[in-house]
């Protein structure tokens, strides 16, 4: 099998997986949402005229049998048409994508902060896990892992906004308003990542190949940076993939705390208002995104682990 046809097969398999996944998720979602209540009643208000309610139903196709609605919905979805928001009279997908960028911004910043903090700290801790000062830091990391994100967020606001007045905490108003929400998100991830990296590093330091490197005269820093850390980071890459989904959904609390005009806030508002099109579009976009990130992590894996690379010789 040639290399290019192998890649084509792998991609075809991936795309099929994505299609099956999306079909399952959207179908499940469609029926789950309809269990929640009648959006026409909510839109029209409690004391609305039955005729108005009927008009609304007709306008959004809610008067059709469920199975007809479902088939229409499936058909529309093939063209990425999720319909209009029941609230904003705008394309649901447009509304979702508009919010998506600000949430992605936070997620990516949080990942960056996590990498910058946890790789050096994890490497340092794992290099000699038994020394006294590292044991103390380990204990601190362990405690930090138990602090919920919203507590961390509130503490950060108290310190940097209320006491020091260095930063703003409301909405998206440029870089100074990005720092605290992304730090809050990172506070979920950093302790977890530090522990994984330090465990991987200390395991790698006991491997035979470290002794081999020592026997060629490698110094401590060389052993750590050139031999143990590359192996340790392989395990951490897998974690980033799984944590990304968590970041997308975990951003909800953070967005509420910081009044961040993001995706999570939109999703929650839409669920409570039974704004089906927006919820459907949002879940669709999340599913695609998580899928893409996982596929990206796999590619990253292949790049940094030579054992997974196809033999070219």
């Amino acid at each position: 099998m040639t290399r290019s046809s192998a890649i084509r097969d792998a991609m075809l398999k991936r795309v099929t997986e994505l299609a099956v996944l999306l079909f399952a998720i959207t179908t499940l979602l469609f029926f789950l949402l309809r269990l929640g209540g009648d959006p026409a009643m909510i839109m029209a208000g409690d004391e609305a005229d039955p005729e108005v309610v009927a008009l609304i139903r007709a306008r959004y196709g809610l008067d059709q049998p469920l199975i007809v609605q479902y088939l229409r919905y499936l058909g529309a979805m093939l063209t990425l048409d999720f319909g209009e928001s029941l609230r904003a009279s705008r394309s649901a997908l447009g509304l979702v994508l508009e919010r998506l960028w600000s949430t992605l911004l936070l997620a990516l910043l949080a990942l960056l902060i996590t990498a910058v903090l946890s790789i050096p700290l994890g490497a340092w801790l794992g290099y000699r896990p038994d020394s006294g000062d590292r044991k103390a830091v380990n204990a601190v990391v362990f405690v930090l892992q138990g602090i919920p994100g919203y507590i961390a967020g509130l503490l950060l606001i108290q310190l940097f906004v209320v006491e020091l007045r260095w930063l703003t905490s409301i909405g998206n108003q440029g870089i100074s308003s990005w720092i605290l929400p992304s730090l809050t998100l990172a506070s979920f991830l950093v302790p977890k990542m530090v522990r994984v990296i330090s465990a991987n590093v200390s395991e790698a330091m006991r491997e035979d190949y470290i002794r081999t490197a020592r026997a060629t005269g490698a110094s401590g820093p060389e052993l750590l940076l050139r031999h143990a850390l590359p192996n340790a980071l392989l395990g951490a890459t897998a974690l980033i993939g799984t944590q990304f989904a968590f970041l997308m959904s975990g951003s909800l609390i953070t967005e509420v705390i910081f009044a961040w005009p993001g995706f999570g806030a939109l999703l929650v508002a839409s669920v409570t208002r039974l704004d089906f099109p927006v919820v459907q579009a949002a879940v669709f976009v999340i599913a695609v995104l998580v899928f893409l990130v996982n596929a990206g992590t796999d590619i990253l894996f292949n790049l940094i682990d030579p054992r997974l690379r196809r033999q070219t010789t």
């Binding site: 035979d208 190949y209 002794r211 081999t212 026997a215 060629t216 005269g217 110094s219 060389e222 054992r307």
Partner: protein
């Protein structure tokens, strides 16, 4: 201490690597440290391969690691010295050791499957060691690495520089390990069970290679296998329970072992000619590490044990270049005739 394990023809030449009175211990919370290597003397001259033969747990690997300054914590060198070209290594700082390891001393480890970093290419591993010890640029380092791969008989050496360990067979990986040990042309190469993890056919090839390469420098060959030692070593030192019990030229030791333990090891080795002769295992098991020894460590397993054996015997010269540590050495006549 008398220079007991030096053949007469080499007395005038100073040894490359000389180990004297080496003791290695592991501390215990309750009591004196456990001694795993107890007063060992060894010397290796230029162009000579010394075989250190013993069972697992005999202290032979610990001795090899000590010669590299790599005794695993909390173990430590309690006494003795290790001289390389007359320079004492035991007192070196870690930084000084790093200049010796891979430069004047090279080491080949047992398992090539786990001993090479899976995410580093062969060229990266070799080049890193070359540039650490020699002032050369990346291109020259690659050329030196390639030459080292050729010297260990790896075909298409230039292409192999880009290979990762998982792309190579076990035999090739062990050749890479050997290349890694000799890439900077060390004075002494230590090989710790370098063929144990390999298939029998590959073993023979690797032994041939080691015989050639180790003879160019000085070699210390650690093995549990008398057959392996017989193949490539000029002299043999048999280690039991942390002490050398017998040394001598390989053919002398194999032809007429004087220590009952050596004789036992030989009787347990299968031979091609001895059809129908039974292999005789040594009864019992070697003792665990102790803090202080009183009796001869082999006494509980020895057929010739006598009341005097309650006191541990010293290693004493019995012939030029030949020593044994036993109160009742086996008779000088061959212990076992090979079947005709």
């Amino acid at each position: 201490m008398a220079d007991t394990n030096t053949p007469p023809d080499a007395r005038t030449e100073a040894p490359l690597l000389e180990i004297r009175g080496l003791r290695i211990g592991f501390p215990r919370p309750d009591g004196p440290p456990l001694v795993v290597v107890d007063g060992v003397d060894l010397s290796i001259r230029q162009g000579e391969i010394l075989g250190l033969v013993g069972e697992s747990g005999s202290g032979k690997s610990m001795l090899a690691l000590a010669a590299m300054g790599l005794v695993p914590a909390p173990g430590y060198v309690m006494a003795g010295d290790i001289r390389l070209d007359g320079r004492d290594l035991v007192t070196l700082s870690e930084r000084e050791w790093q200049k010796v390891r891979g430069r004047t001393l090279g080491m080949v480890f047992q398992d090539p499957m786990t001993g090479l970093n899976p995410v580093r290419s062969v060229g990266a591993l070799l080049g890193e060691s070359v540039r650490r010890h020699q002032k050369v640029g990346p291109e020259e380092a690659a050329a030196i690495s390639e030459a080292a791969l050729k010297a260990v008989g790896i075909p298409a050496a230039r292409e192999r520089l880009a290979a990762f360990p998982h792309q190579l067979s076990g035999g090739l990986r062990q050749r890479v390990m050997i290349a890694l040990a000799l890439v900077n042309r060390p004075r002494v190469i230590i090989a710790d069970e370098p063929t144990t993890a390999l298939d029998a056919t590959i073993q023979a090839q690797i032994l041939d290679l080691l015989r050639d390469r180790l003879h160019e420098a000085g070699g210390l060959m650690i093995t549990h296998d008398l057959g392996v030692a017989a193949e490539i070593c000029d002299r043999i030192a048999v280690i039991y329970h942390g002490r050398i019990v017998e040394t001598g030229r390989t053919r002398d030791v194999l032809a007429a072992p004087r220590h009952p333990y050596t004789a036992g090891l030989l009787a347990a080795v299968p031979r091609f000619h001895g059809r129908g002769t039974r292999l005789i295992p040594i009864r019992g098991a070697p003792p665990g590490p102790v803090s202080e020894r009183v009796e001869c460590s082999f006494r509980p397993r020895c057929a010739k044990a006598a009341p005097e054996c309650a006191a541990a015997p010293a290693l004493e010269a019995i012939a030029p270049g030949r020593s044994v540590a036993c109160h009742h050495p086996v008779a000088a006549a061959p212990a076992r005739e090979d079947a005709q």
